[in-house]
C-alpha cells in the first residue's frame, strides 16, 4: 500500500518521465548551422586577396576577367559600412581595366596614324588617349582610398607586420602602385608619340577628291569610284590610293600620271541601307617627308536590296512526340523596276538555336517538325530564317512555344452509390485537346477492389466492374481512376471520386448481431422489472435470494428442534416459547417473517401493529437473540423472564 502523500509524487514524476524522451533530441547537438542564429563574420584578408586577384588581371590586360570578378562583388559578405566604398572600388576597377586595355590599342593606332602621316586623325586620337589616361589616374586614386578606408575598418594599421591581413593589404597597395606605374608607362609612350607628331607640322597634305557614280545601287552591282590627288594644283601621279568602305580598306588603286584614279567597286552583300566611302592617300617612300596623308570627303552610297517579310504561324502549344506544324508565307516590300521575287528561297528552321530543318520554299510554306517524345516540357524557341539570295536580304523571325502534355478528360459518369457485393458500369470516352486516347491503360481502385483494363483505340471504355465482398459496413469510399496513355503527348490522368458504399451483407449480419445483443444483455433488466411486478402483488411466497441469509429458516429450524413437551430448563424451552409467540404475532399482524429479515427487523416491523404487546414481544425478541447469538449460557433467570413475557403476551392478547 502506498500512502496518499507518495501517490501525487509518483504521478508527477511519471508524467515528467513520459515527456523527457520527446524533449531530449531538441537539445542534441546539430551538425549544421542555423543560418538565422549564425554570428556574422567579415574577413578583411579575403576581401583584400580578392581585390588583389582582380588587379592582377588589370595588369594582365584582361578587362573581361576583371569585369567578371567584380560583377560577383554584390554577392560578397561585406560590412554595411563598406558597402558604398566597395561599389566605388568595383566601378573604378572595371573602368581602369577597360582604359588600360584601350589605351594600349589606341597607342598602336596612333603609331599607325603617325607612320601614315595622318596628322589630323592622330591629333584627335592623341587627345582621346590623354583624357583616358587622366581618367585612369583619378580612378586609381579612388581605388587606393577605398583600400585605405577598408584597411582602417579591418584595423590594419594596428595589425602586426607579419599578420595575414597586413601582408594582404600591403600587397594590394603595391599592386595599385604597379597599375599606376603601368599607366605612367603608357602616358610616357603617348607623350613620345604626341611629341613625334610635331615633326609633321609644317608639312601640308595634298588634296584628294572622290566621286561615286551612281550613289544608289543594288547589292552586287558595281559603282564607279573616281577622284584625283593633287598638290598645289598639280596632280600627283602613280600614287597608291586606298578606298575605305565604312573606315575599312576595301580596295586599292593607283593614280595615273595626271593624279586621277578610277575604279569599279562592287557593293558588298552586307544588306546595309548605307555605305560610307572615303579615299585615303598616305605618303610612302620619298613622299614621306614631303606630304601629309590626305583623306577625301565622305560619300554615302544608298544601298538597295529586297527585304523579305516572314509571316509565321506556329501554334503556341506543342506536344512531345507530335508534329509541330509551322505554316506561313514570305512576302516582299514593293519591288522596284522589273524585278520579281525569287521562286525559291533557302529556309532554315532552328529549334532552341539548333538547326533542325534545312529546305527551300516559295511564297507559302507548311512544315511539320516532329518533336521528340522525351522533349523537356516548358518554353522553347522556334527560329525561322530565310537565307540571302543575291538582291534579296536574309530575314528571320522567331516564335516562342510551350511544350506541354495534353491533359485527358473522361466523358462518362461515375456512380454515386454502390452496393457490396455488386457491380458498377463505367462507360465513356477518354479525350484530350489533341484528340482521343488510343488504347489507354485504365486502373481503377475502389477500396480493396482493383480493376485493370485497356480502352478501345478510339478512347472508349466499357467496363463492368464487380465489387467484391469485403469486411465493411457502409460509408464513403474513394474511387481512384488512373489513366495511363500510350501516347507520349498525353499526360497521366488521375480522377478521384467519393462514392457511398453499402455492404448489405455485413449490414444485415450486423443488424442481426445487434438484435441478439439487444435481447440477451437486457435480460437482467427484464428480470428486475418482473421482480418489481411480483412485489406489487404482495404474495406471501417469494423466491428466496440465493445468497441472502434466511433468518426465518434458522429460527424455524431451532424452534422445530425444540421439544414439544414443556418445562425442561434448556435453550430449547425458550425457543419453543418464541415459536409459539411468533406464530401468534404473525397471525395477529398478518406479517410474515421474510427470508432476509432478522428477528429484530421483524419485531420492529410488527411492533406498529401489535399495540400493547409490542413491548413484551420486543423484549422477548432480544432475549431470543441473546440465546441464539451470544456465547453466554441460558440461565434460570432467562427462562423465568421468558415465561413471564410469554404470559404477559398471552394475558394482553386474551384481554
Amino acid at each position: 500500500m502506498l500512502s496518499k502523500k507518495v501517490f501525487p509524487l509518483v504521478v508527477i514524476l511519471a508524467t515528467l518521465f513520459s515527456f523527457v524522451p520527446s524533449l531530449a533530441p531538441a537539445f542534441a547537438q546539430e551538425p549544421h548551422q542555423n543560418p538565422e542564429t549564425t554570428t556574422t563574420v567579415f574577413s578583411g584578408f579575403a576581401l583584400f586577396e580578392y581585390y588583389t586577384e582582380t588587379l592582377v588581371e588589370i595588369i594582365a590586360k584582361k578587362p573581361e576577367t576583371v569585369n567578371e570578378l567584380m560583377d560577383k562583388m554584390p554577392f560578397a559578405n561585406i560590412p554595411e559600412f563598406l558597402s558604398d566604398s566597395t561599389n566605388e572600388f568595383m566601378t573604378s576597377t572595371k573602368l581602369v581595366a577597360d582604359i588600360v586595355y584601350k589605351v594600349d590599342s589606341d597607342l598602336e593606332a596612333l603609331i599607325m596614324l603617325k607612320n601614315q602621316s595622318r596628322l589630323e586623325e592622330a591629333t584627335t586620337l592623341s587627345g582621346e588617349i590623354s583624357i583616358s589616361i587622366n581618367t585612369a589616374y583619378t580612378e586609381i586614386d579612388r581605388m587606393e582610398r577605398v583600400v585605405v578606408t577598408s584597411g582602417v575598418y579591418f584595423k590594419v594599421p594596428t595589425a602586426t607586420a607579419e599578420s595575414d591581413i597586413r601582408i594582404a593589404y600591403n600587397r594590394l597597395l603595391e599592386l595599385i602602385q604597379r597599375i599606376r606605374n603601368l599607366l605612367d608607362l603608357q602616358a610616357s609612350l603617348h607623350q613620345n608619340l604626341t611629341d613625334s607628331l610635331e615633326s609633321l607640322t609644317g608639312i601640308e597634305s595634298p588634296e584628294l577628291t572622290l566621286t561615286v557614280n551612281p550613289t544608289t545601287a543594288f547589292v552586287g552591282e558595281n559603282v564607279i569610284v573616281s577622284g584625283s590627288l593633287a598638290y598645289e594644283g598639280k596632280g600627283l601621279g602613280n600614287r597608291e590610293i586606298e578606298i575605305l568602305l565604312n573606315n575599312e580598306t576595301n580596295l586599292t588603286t593607283v593614280t595615273d600620271s595626271q593624279g586621277s584614279f578610277i575604279t569599279l567597286l562592287t557593293i558588298p552583300y552586307l544588306y546595309q541601307p548605307e555605305l560610307n566611302l572615303q579615299a585615303l592617300f598616305y605618303p610612302q617612300g620619298t613622299d614621306t617627308a614631303k606630304y601629309l596623308a590626305a583623306l577625301s570627303p565622305m560619300v554615302t552610297i544608298e544601298v538597295l536590296y529586297y527585304e523579305a517579310m516572314i509571316n509565321l504561324n506556329v501554334n503556341n502549344r506543342a506536344y512531345p512526340g507530335r508534329e509541330l506544324t509551322i505554316t506561313g508565307n514570305i512576302s516582299y516590300k514593293p519591288l522596284e523596276g522589273n524585278a520579281i521575287a525569287p521562286l525559291v528561297r533557302s529556309i532554315e528552321i532552328y529549334f532552341d538555336n539548333e538547326l533542325v530543318k534545312e529546305t527551300t520554299a516559295t511564297e507559302g510554306f507548311p512544315y511539320s517538325l516532329p518533336l521528340p517524345p522525351d522533349i523537356k516540357l516548358g518554353n522553347h524557341l522556334i527560329t525561322f530564317t530565310v537565307s540571302a539570295n543575291d538582291r534579296y536580304a536574309p530575314s528571320f523571325t522567331d516564335r516562342g512555344i510551350q511544350v506541354v502534355k495534353a491533359v485527358p478528360y473522361f466523358t462518362g459518369e461515375f456512380p454515386k452509390l454502390l452496393f457490396v457485393p455488386g457491380s458498377f458500369y463505367l462507360q465513356g470516352q477518354l479525350k484530350s485537346e489533341t484528340g482521343v486516347l488510343d488504347s489507354p491503360i485504365v486502373n481503377i481502385k475502389l477500396g480493396n477492389n482493383v480493376y485493370n483494363f485497356t480502352g478501345e483505340d478510339n478512347g472508349f471504355i466499357f467496363s463492368n466492374n464487380k465489387t467484391r465482398y469485403y469486411f465493411s459496413l457502409l460509408g464513403s469510399q474513394t474511387l481512384e481512376m488512373v489513366v495511363t496513355p500510350t501516347e507520349p503527348w498525353h499526360d497521366k490522368m488521375v480522377i478521384t471520386r467519393q462514392i457511398l458504399l453499402i455492404n448489405y451483407i455485413n449490414c444485415g449480419i450486423f443488424f442481426i448481431v445487434l438484435v441478439i445483443f439487444a435481447i440477451i444483455f437486457p435480460r437482467r433488466f427484464v428480470v428486475s422489472l418482473r421482480q418489481m411486478a411480483t412485489k406489487k402483488k404482495a404474495s406471501p411466497t417469494s423466491l428466496p435470494a440465493p445468497h441472502a441469509p434466511i433468518y426465518s429458516e434458522v429460527i424455524t429450524r431451532i424452534l422445530d428442534q425444540a421439544p414439544a413437551s414443556p418445562l425442561t430448563i434448556t435453550t430449547e424451552r425458550l425457543l419453543s416459547l418464541y415459536r409459539i409467540v411468533l406464530k401468534l404475532v404473525q397471525t395477529l399482524t398478518r406479517t410474515l417473517l421474510k427470508p432476509q429479515q432478522t428477528l429484530r427487523e421483524y419485531a420492529r416491523e410488527a411492533t406498529s401493529k401489535l399495540g400493547p404487546i409490542s413491548t413484551p414481544f420486543t423484549s422477548f425478541t432480544r432475549l431470543i437473540e441473546k440465546t441464539i447469538y451470544s456465547q453466554q449460557k441460558v440461565t434460570q433467570d432467562d427462562i423465568a423472564e421468558g415465561e413471564n413475557l410469554v404470559n404477559k403476551i398471552r394475558q394482553d392478547t386474551t384481554s
Binding site: S22, E36, F75
Partner: protein, 303 residues
C-alpha cells in the same frame, strides 16, 4: 488506494502523456520529414513534389526515366542493398546523392566513376552568408544558368573530387578553400580556388548527380536565394515530363521520437482500417451492453 490500482493509473498517465508528447512535440532530428524546425526537411518534399519512402528499390523499377531518387547517406548502410541503383540509373533514372561528411562514397563506388566526396569542410570567407561555413555559390554551368539561377547558399558543405570541368554543374567562388586541418581558419597550405560542389555523371541512359551539401534541403536553407530552383533543376536534369521524386528514408538517422512518431502514425493508419473500426465498434457495443445489463439488474434491488 492499493498498489495494483496505483500502478494502473500511473501507467495510464505515462502512456497518455507519451502519446501526447510524441504527437505534438516536433522532431528535431536532422533531415526528418516530421521535423518542422530549421534543420528538418518537412518543406522540401512539398516544394518539389516528392515523397519519403523506406523502400526505394520497389518504386525504382516502375518507370526509371520518370523517377528521381534522392539519397542523403547520413547513416551507414550495406552497399549491396543499394545495388539496384546501378540498374535504375542505367535504365534512365536520376540519382541524386547529397552528402557532405556521410557515407556517400560507398554509393558512388557502385558506379564506375572517379568522383568522390572530399569529406572535408569547404569554407568561403568572402562569398558567404554571415560566416565562411555558409558559402554562396554563384558560378554555374550553362544548363543551370538558363534556369534563372544566380546564387545558391550552402551550409557546411564539402567538395567533390575527380570532377571533369564539363560535368560540373556548380563551383564555389575563387576565395573558397578546403579546411584541411578543420581548424576553421585559412592556413598557408589551404589555397583558395574554385571547387566543384555539384557534379553530374552519365551512367547508361541515366544520370548520377552529386551534391556536396545535403543541408541545402533543410527548411532554413531551401527558401534562401535560388535554392529551390537549383534543386528543381537537379531533379529535371534529364528531359522527361513530370518526375516522381523519392527521398530514401533508410539512410537517414532516426531518434526514438521519430521512431515513436512513425509507429504512432502506423497505429493511426491501422485504426483507420474498416476491420479494426468494426472490431472496435463491436467491443464498444459489448461493453456498453454489459454495463447496461448490470445497471438494469441493480434497478430492481434498489427499489
Amino acid at each position: 488506494m492499493n498498489t495494483p490500482k496505483l500502478l494502473i493509473i500511473v501507467l495510464a498517465i505515462v502512456l497518455a502523456c507519451s502519446i501526447i508528447s510524441v504527437w505534438f512535440v516536433p522532431s528535431s532530428q536532422d533531415y526528418m520529414i516530421g521535423n518542422t524546425l530549421w534543420n528538418g526537411i518537412s518543406n522540401m518534399l512539398s516544394q518539389i513534389g516528392g515523397q519519403m519512402v523506406n523502400d526505394t528499390a520497389t518504386e525504382a523499377g516502375q518507370n526509371p526515366a520518370a523517377t528521381v531518387i534522392i539519397i542523403i547517406p547520413e547513416k551507414d548502410f550495406v552497399a549491396s542493398e543499394y545495388a539496384y541503383l546501378g540498374q535504375f540509373v542505367n535504365a534512365g533514372g536520376t540519382l541524386i546523392i547529397a552528402d557532405d561528411f556521410g557515407f556517400g562514397n560507398k554509393l558512388i563506388a557502385l558506379f564506375k566513376t572517379d568522383l568522390r566526396f572530399n569529406n572535408l569542410p569547404l569554407l568561403d570567407p568572402l562569398f558567404c552568408y554571415k560566416a565562411p561555413s555558409l558559402p554562396k555559390i554563384t558560378d554555374f554551368s550553362p544548363e543551370i544558368v538558363t534556369q534563372g539561377i544566380k546564387q545558391v547558399l550552402l551550409n557546411s558543405p564539402t567538395v567533390i573530387d575527380g570532377a571533369d570541368d564539363n560535368n560540373v554543374l556548380a563551383w564555389s567562388s575563387p576565395t573558397s578553400y578546403v579546411d584541411l586541418n578543420q581548424n576553421g581558419k585559412q592556413d598557408a597550405n589551404e589555397l583558395p580556388t574554385k571547387y566543384p560542389v555539384a557534379v553530374k555523371s552519365q551512367y547508361g541512359q541515366g544520370s548520377v548527380v552529386l551534391l556536396s551539401d545535403p543541408s541545402l534541403l533543410i527548411n532554413s536553407m531551401l527558401t534562401r536565394y535560388d535554392n529551390v530552383k537549383f534543386v528543381e533543376a537537379l531533379v529535371n536534369l534529364l528531359p522527361y515530363g513530370e518526375k516522381k521524386v523519392l527521398l530514401d528514408a533508410a539512410t537517414l538517422p532516426e531518434t526514438s521520437l521519430d521512431t515513436s512518431k512513425r509507429s504512432l502514425g502506423e497505429i493511426k493508419a491501422y485504426l483507420a482500417e474498416p476491420y479494426t473500426q468494426l472490431a472496435a465498434l463491436a467491443v464498444i457495443f459489448v461493453l456498453t451492453s454489459l454495463t447496461l445489463g448490470k445497471v438494469g439488474g441493480r434497478i430492481g434491488r434498489k427499489s
